[in-house]
Symmetry: C2
Subunit: 199 residues, 2 copies
């Protein structure tokens, strides 16, 4: 009859929340434990150490992001349509689930050094989907890109820029937010489609 949320999941949720609310630096095992009403050492029953806990958090977020994008993009058969769906859903995810989205970029740097490459690659399904979509578009003569792997990286960076501006509320107050988002995505997309120079 009880709720029975496993402690492991509680820890993850509390950590994610604390991370979003108070930042990485003030996140401590003891603080997490206190919120879960448990001793600090109990966390070590489920996670090797603090880094591993953070990695799990990242992994979860990346997994969710991938699933989110796949759900919207995979059904599209037209490669350009799929390309657009990927970019659009990436931004949507960031705006709808900032707690999860920010973890992907916030924690990084430091704990990331020891983040096992294998897992990283495995989790980046969305990125790989983007690469494949670009490759397909190139084959169909709809895009001109000589290194899809690199182009995908660049697109990711651009989209992250868009999401960041909005999440950090750095948007000029005169700019309409939704319009900004739509136009930004459109610009990212258009930047990669086949066109000719005027002169």
């Amino acid at each position: 009859m009880s709720e029975e949320v496993p402690l492991r999941d509680q820890i993850l949720e509390i950590s994610r929340h604390l991370l979003y609310e108070e930042g990485y630096k003030s996140l401590s095992m003891r603080k997490i434990a206190k919120q879960a009403d448990v001793s600090a050492t109990s966390i070590y029953l489920y996670f090797e150490n603090k880094d591993h806990l953070l990695h799990t958090l990242i992994e979860e977020s990346v997994e969710d992001l991938s699933r989110f994008i796949e759900k919207r993009a995979l059904p599209k058969t037209d490669s350009i349509e799929r390309f657009k769906a990927i970019t659009k859903s990436y931004v949507e995810f960031g705006l709808q689930q900032p707690e999860k989205y920010e973890i992907i970029y916030k924690v990084r740097s430091d704990s990331m050094a020891r983040y096992p490459k294998e897992k990283f690659r495995k989790a980046r399904r969305a990125y790989e989907l983007l690469v494949k979509t670009i490759e397909e578009s190139v084959r169909q003569g709809l895009m001109e890109v000589d290194k899809p792997v690199v182009a995908a990286y660049s697109i990711w960076a651009q989209l992250h820029g868009v999401v960041s501006v909005v999440l950090n509320k750095r948007l000029d107050s005169r700019i309409n937010q939704e319009q900004f988002i739509e136009e930004s995505i459109e610009h990212v997309v258009q930047g990669f489609l086949i066109r000719t120079t005027v002169s």
Copy 2:
């Protein structure tokens, strides 16, 4: 006759180096102090606290980046030429001075929350120069961009992506590095110049 490098500057240099070499997490006041052959508390004679020390480090890096870009871009009178010079020198700086460049992005997130906005804005001269250059190009009918502030942000993000790939040696081994850099910059630039769609 002695060298007489002020302790304050020594601390900054040691910190920058440790940060680059061992990452943010393992950077401690005591470790810095030991390398400077001084007690840990001496650092507090020159910096309010650890955050402030990091802010100073960031500020220095951003200042250097700005100067680097200005030196190469300001002489150009043609707005498109200036635009190209900005993008090119941004990437150059990142590759030539990775210790300084990485600090700008590495530390961020956490200490950044309390980073005074004023200083931040003041230091981003390079960013502002880019915005002005875009605005000028738009006035001259050479670019089609409706929010230069946003476009500049996007360009920054793209360039950062390029630098990151190279610095982290994530570049596919079959790709020629210099060619990659040149083409990437070119793509960023072209993405903002006036063109028409083929169909």
